[in-house]
Point group: C2
Chain length 228, copies 2
Amino acid sequence: MAYHSGSYTGGYAPSAPPVPDSQGSPQQHQPYPPPNYYYGAQSSYGSHGHSGFPPGTHPEVIRSFQMVDKDRSGFIDESELQQALSSGYQRFSLRTIRLLMFLFKNPNDSLRIGPKEFAALWSCLGQWRAIFERFDRDRSGKIDATELRDALYSLGYAIPPSVLQVLISRYDGGSGRKVELNFDSFVECGMIVKGLTEKFKEKDPRYTGSAMLTYDTFMSMIIPFLVS
Amino acid sequence: MAYHSGSYTGGYAPSAPPVPDSQGSPQQHQPYPPPNYYYGAQSSYGSHGHSGFPPGTHPEVIRSFQMVDKDRSGFIDESELQQALSSGYQRFSLRTIRLLMFLFKNPNDSLRIGPKEFAALWSCLGQWRAIFERFDRDRSGKIDATELRDALYSLGYAIPPSVLQVLISRYDGGSGRKVELNFDSFVECGMIVKGLTEKFKEKDPRYTGSAMLTYDTFMSMIIPFLVS
């Protein structure tokens, strides 16, 4: 099977251990949630802290959310999410933002996310940033296909090389030239792999590596990923 | 099962019968391949006419291809395809062009298509144009969700309403407002549904409506659709 048995906790980025090596990061000055935050965010995922944020949420995360939630509705839409994340990370493409919105929003909710989901997303991105920097060995701010494969593997995803090639070709602008991904594209790639793998695992609860899918299920699993 | 047994020939647009009702089309002045062309293109699919086009290929199709194949390589890339199709149809978005390229190119070939594939694509678009116009009852040049559902059904695809909703939401720019699709978006939607359904059917040769998929197969089936 393609995803190794160790992959499941790793696969859920919010529950993955924080990666130490984010030293020397160009983003270093920016607020990364403290390690205990990850567990805070996760263990209290069901509960509500003040303002709807899980206890232990880094104040910067709350600030970033409230800064864009101007009407204090407690929810932000995709353009507000784009703005909120740029304070802690960078300005992500709308394509990536839509995918993040889809993957992190409450499934029963429309196209908006609240404090809990925002905190979980911020935490996930913090770890992915650290992983990106760990595999961006020359600190170029970009990673190539091999580094992406290693990075995805460290997140618990072992995808077929042929799939990786097609996935990467998405970023060569049809040129066929060697691709290097910035953090935005890395997050998009990673979230696609993570999201599809999680979907598949729902249908393969005993991790046999195979799943029986009806046509309706198959289509319903995939189409949302085409929306971004 | 979601796709009805009548759907298979309908699903393969190039082998579907030409749709009569393309009268009153705004595109009427533009060259549609004559009906016998469809069968010509299909029955002689394995053979090569002069210049690599199937016998019976409409001269306008050959002209459109050769007009952009400036180096006479016999192959065109995505931007050339975009240009070639604008003569017979319209300027499609690069996103749609990439999907068409992926679905129609020779699987063993890189990101380029030759005469045979171009002829098949042109033929397919001719029929989809006719179907679009048949369901665009008010001739607005746009179709709504219900009309899309009916149009896809007439092509042989019965997709779950929930899937259709998500698919359509792709075109509302996150506004959540009622969506109307132009021909470009219709082709993109339709090709996604067609492509994914054909992929699924490969794994469900007896059309039971269910398929056993490995993780690798699942990922390999889907990722290409995210490239466009």
